[in-house]
């Protein structure tokens, strides 16, 4: 298989404009006769479905939640980046492009990232037009704040609820298209397999989560906007429903999976408590604008934070990265937190935590200012821990948060299966080995509002698409794969719950394929996971029936996929013999613990092809840097 990224030739600045002009269009009369499936209704899915509906396509849109408004984009707190340069602080499309490429540790495509920076400004305008109530200055202009890993203020926000407001904007646009009859919404419906006919993606198999009915939905093209797979770690900041099933089962039908080991661990989550804990709660990165991270200089220091004088505190980010200080990018901050905790300076239960202290800003600007900026986050922290962060510092620890890896797509956001498009977090395209804060919202909406609607048109205008139906043999085969799996899950009738397997595989990955990785650990994981998977199919218990509302059945199906996907993650981490971005191989570090990237051997996208009962095949897409020179990513 040859991976052709289909990057248009010519200068970076005009690639997208020229590409759009060279794309074929679908005539308005024909659009009406074309059906497109969109799976997922987060920022990418909702914006794509509404825009495709507005263009005149018939859209069938699916989500497993009870309403499209509940997709996990809703939980994004901090903000959305755009190269508006409203602050006149030196921002530009070129700078946003460079920051994103550098932030991703030179493991993403120049052309994709430049396009993302180009459309970023349009996204803000579109959201304002939809009625998103962005924060404003007293003069009535849009407000900005700065966010981790950059030195300009380009982040737009709605208090600590930016994801919610952007999603409600996209959801409202979707509501309009549903009302107009352009989009048919299928909530509480989960995609369980992909239908590929004559090499083209032509439909999906879905399960109605209320009645349990499994059915076939065919179309001219399929768009996946099904988010990331952080929940493979069991404990993550993701919603409990977020899962890898749609992308993983698509992988098994032939779409290649790119860079699965690029997994963002967010530095500022509330530390884990007891073993019953079901999720880790994120504290927005924006807190690092005003909060200072520190640990006691003395190891195993049990004094209350207020009793530790300034000279006995180690403000470790400010010490190690004086230029960026507490705003160092996520991967770097997370690893620095892990290092001080591993060295015994961690605070709180189990020594898994560092302080995030607001005393200085409260003294400088007053509690009211802090309340206005972060009030809801302080409330959330108080509810969970019972502590008042206005008086004592917060305690935070890193947590799995976002996946840069995903299904491989070309410049047109099309996967290796023609007619299968992948957008938002579900694809791998724009963030390289590490994503900068406030860039996921930007990418989701860029893909959905402004990129996919163009590129899918060209495919639909040029591909030869024969009529297909539910009775096609490939449709029947896909349906059988799904019903077969469901009955296997229900008939195992063992003794262990799906959650117990999920917790075990998650812990295993966290220990051996988490914030730092090494060969021995990864090989151990690869030896151990198959045995756990085998036990799962023999010993899992799923009560109830398949023909009814059955939440445990939904969950067990997702856990079964994690048990396979975990292996792919480890294969990728094992292959990548370098440290870059969020991927830190202990064998590849400098004497002061900084990562060592290897551009000679690893300046490529690692794209894995499924093989039944065998190690997946690795394909490489070389990354050419024509416009920026990869440098050592230094934030010191």
């Amino acid at each position: 298989m040859k991976l052709d990224p289909k990057i248009p030739a010519g200068p970076l600045e005009t690639k997208w404009d020229r590409h759009r002009f060279s794309e074929k269009l679908v005539s308005p009369n024909n659009k009406r006769r074309i059906t497109v499936i969109v799976v997922g209704t987060g920022l990418a899915g909702a914006s794509a479905a509404s825009t495709l509906g507005q263009l005149g396509y018939q859209v069938e849109c699916f989500c497993f939640q009870d309403s499209p408004r509940r997709a996990h984009s809703i939980a994004a707190q901090g903000g959305i980046n755009a190269a508006k340069n409203y602050q006149d602080d030196g921002d530009s499309v070129a700078r946003l492009f460079y920051d994103t490429i550098k932030g991703g540790d030179f493991r993403s495509r120049e052309a994709n990232v430049y396009r993302l920076a180009q459309v970023s400004a349009q996204i803000i305008d579109q959201c304002v037009a939809l009625g998103v109530p962005f924060a404003r200055e007293y003069g009535g202009q849009l407000a900005n704040r700065s966010f981790g890993g950059v030195q300009v203020s380009r982040t737009f926000y709605c208090r600590g609820q930016t994801g919610q407001q952007l999603l409600l904007g996209a959801y409202s646009a979707l509501c309009w298209q549903i009302e107009r009859g352009q989009v048919t919404m299928h909530p509480r419906t989960e995609m369980l397999d992909l239908i590929v006919i004559d090499g083209q993606a032509r439909g999906i198999v879905v399960r109605d989560l209320v009645t349990g009915r499994v059915s076939i939905q065919t179309a001219h093209a399929v768009v996946l906007a099904t988010g990331g797979y952080s929940n493979v770690y069991y404990l993550s900041t993701n919603a409990s429903g977020s899962n890898v099933t749609a992308t993983y089962r698509t992988w098994k039908q032939g779409a290649v999976f790119a860079n699965p080991c690029f997994m963002q661990i967010h530095p500022t989550a509330i530390p884990p408590g007891d073993e019953h804990q079901a999720k880790l709660t994120l504290m927005s990165e924006s807190l690092r604008n005003d909060g200072r991270l520190w640990v006691p200089k003395m190891a195993v220091d049990h004094r209350p934070p207020g009793d530790i004088p300034a000279e006995e505190r180690d403000y470790f980010l400010e010490r190690r990265y004086p230029r960026f200080g507490n705003l160092a990018p996520r991967d770097i901050a997370s690893r620095a937190v892990k290092t001080v905790c591993d060295e015994g300076h961690g605070v709180g239960p189990g020594g898994q935590g560092v302080y995030l202290d607001f005393a200085d800003v409260i003294e400088r600007q007053g509690q009211d200012v802090v309340h206005e900026r972060y009030g809801n986050l302080f409330d959330m922290y108080n509810r969970i821990t019972g502590e008042d962060a206005y008086r004592v510092p917060m305690r935070i620890y890193p947590a799995p948060h976002y996946t840069m890896g995903g299904l491989w797509v070309d410049y047109n956001l099309m996967s290796t299966i023609p007619g299968l498009f992948v957008i938002g977090e579900a694809n791998f395209a724009d963030h390289g080995a590490n994503r900068l804060g406030a860039s996921s919202l930007m990418q989701g909406l860029a893909d959905g509002y402004f990129i996919l609607p163009y590129t899918i048109g060209h495919y639909l205008a040029t591909a030869k698409l024969l009529p297909v139906g539910e009775d096609h043999k490939e449709s029947r085969a896909a349906l059988q794969r799904v019903t077969g799996r469901i009955s296997r899950l229900l008939n195992a009738k063992g003794r262990r719950t799906a959650a117990s397997f999920h917790r075990e595989v998650g812990k295993f990955l966290w220990d051996h394929c988490g914030m730092s990785r090494n060969k021995a650990g990864l090989e151990l994981a690869l030896r151990s996971i198959p045995a756990l998977r085998e036990e799962f199919w023999r010993n899992v218990v799923v009560p109830g029936s398949g023909e009814a509302f059955n939440q445990e059945l939904e969950y067990a199906g997702r856990v079964a996929d994690y048990l396979e996907f975990a292996e792919l993650l480890c294969h990728d981490a094992l292959h990548r013999e370098e440290s870059c971005g969020a991927h830190f191989r202990e064998e590849h570090q400098t004497t002061d613990g900084e990562p060592m990237r290897d551009d000679t051997c690893f300046a490529h996208v690692a794209a894995w092809e499924y093989r039944e009962h065998a190690v997946p095949i690795l394909h490489k897409e070389p990354l050419a840097f024509e416009f920026v020179q990869p440098t050592t990513r230094s934030y010191q």
Binding site: L130, A135, R136, A173, C175, G273, Q551
Partner: protein, 262 residues
């Protein structure tokens, strides 16, 4: 800590439901209410019994999935939070806790504690949007918006669509939900061109879906996890009145320059 739970169990929409008593043992005070329920469910699943169906997703109070009536109060005893943000330290050891689903005609029960809230989506589809195409939007700073105005719009826009307001209301009215969306959009210049049509369409849809009318008892505000104020219901009423005046007045055709200036 140990608790006795009286949980509403109902196999399907058509079957009769009943309370079933469960014991929750060895619950940590730092556990969330939903983690406590997870524990009960893990015990049931291990015995191959059907777990209690309930909804949850983000577990940080923003997605609006969770929906439990705890000891008679939607989202439980504390103000300004959703069920997922409730922690067991809030309850005395040994307490008896009653757990029920949202109860409203417009929210039929699917199973146990899970209800069908699509009626809220249909109300939104009736008019809870600005009809603007993707592409070609003017620069975001062309229309300046007063900071206070933007903040008030944000207060209204923070509704998470959980439906607690409906569950708390004697009339099962969705007035606070509708008021939040109508106010959010009426406060912003982008929402003004459609405000007349929007308020009528959304209120009509609310009636059609079987939600009752407002009884002015403010139960909705008391249980709202985002503390959305009933003042927005006053805004909604004013918008509705204004729509009536605009529609019954002189020509409201688009070419009239005065149609929207009332």
């Amino acid at each position: 800590m140990n608790f006795t739970l009286k949980i509403w169990r109902q196999k399907s929409p058509d079957e009769k439901g009943r309370f079933v008593t469960y014991e929750a043992h060895d619950v940590g005070s730092g556990m969330s209410f939903l983690e406590m329920l997870d524990g009960v469910n893990q015990g049931l699943i291990a015995k191959d019994e059907e777990p209690v169906a309930f909804e949850q997703d983000c577990r940080e109070g923003i997605c609006g999935s969770c929906s439990l009536v705890i000891n008679g109060i939607p989202h439980g005893p504390d103000r300004g939070m959703s069920t997922c943000q409730l922690y067991m330290r809030r309850f005395p050891d040994g307490a008896v806790i009653t757990i029920e689903p949202w109860r409203a005609r417009a929210f039929p029960i699917i199973k146990d504690l899970v209800v069908d809230r699509r009626a809220l989506d249909r109300v939104m589809q009736a008019g809870g949007y600005v009809s603007v195409n993707t592409g070609g939007a003017v620069d975001g700073n062309v229309l300046l918006i007063e900071k206070d105005q933007a903040e008030t719009a944000m207060d209204a826009a923070s509704c998470i669509g959980c439906g607690a307001c409906v569950a708390a209301c004697k009339n099962a009215s969705a007035m606070l939900f509708v008021a939040a969306k109508v106010s959010h959009l009426a406060l912003l210049p982008q929402g003004k061109p459609e405000r007349t049509r929007r308020v009528k369409a959304m209120l009509d849809a609310m009636d059609r879906e079987g939600f009752g009318s407002c009884g002015n008892q403010y139960e909705c505000e008391a249980v709202c996890p985002k503390r959305i104020s009933v003042r927005f219901i006053a805004t909604l009423n004013r918008e509705y009145l204004r729509a009536g005046v605009v529609e019954s007045g002189l020509p409201a055709e688009p070419e009239s320059p005065h149609a929207e200036s009332a």
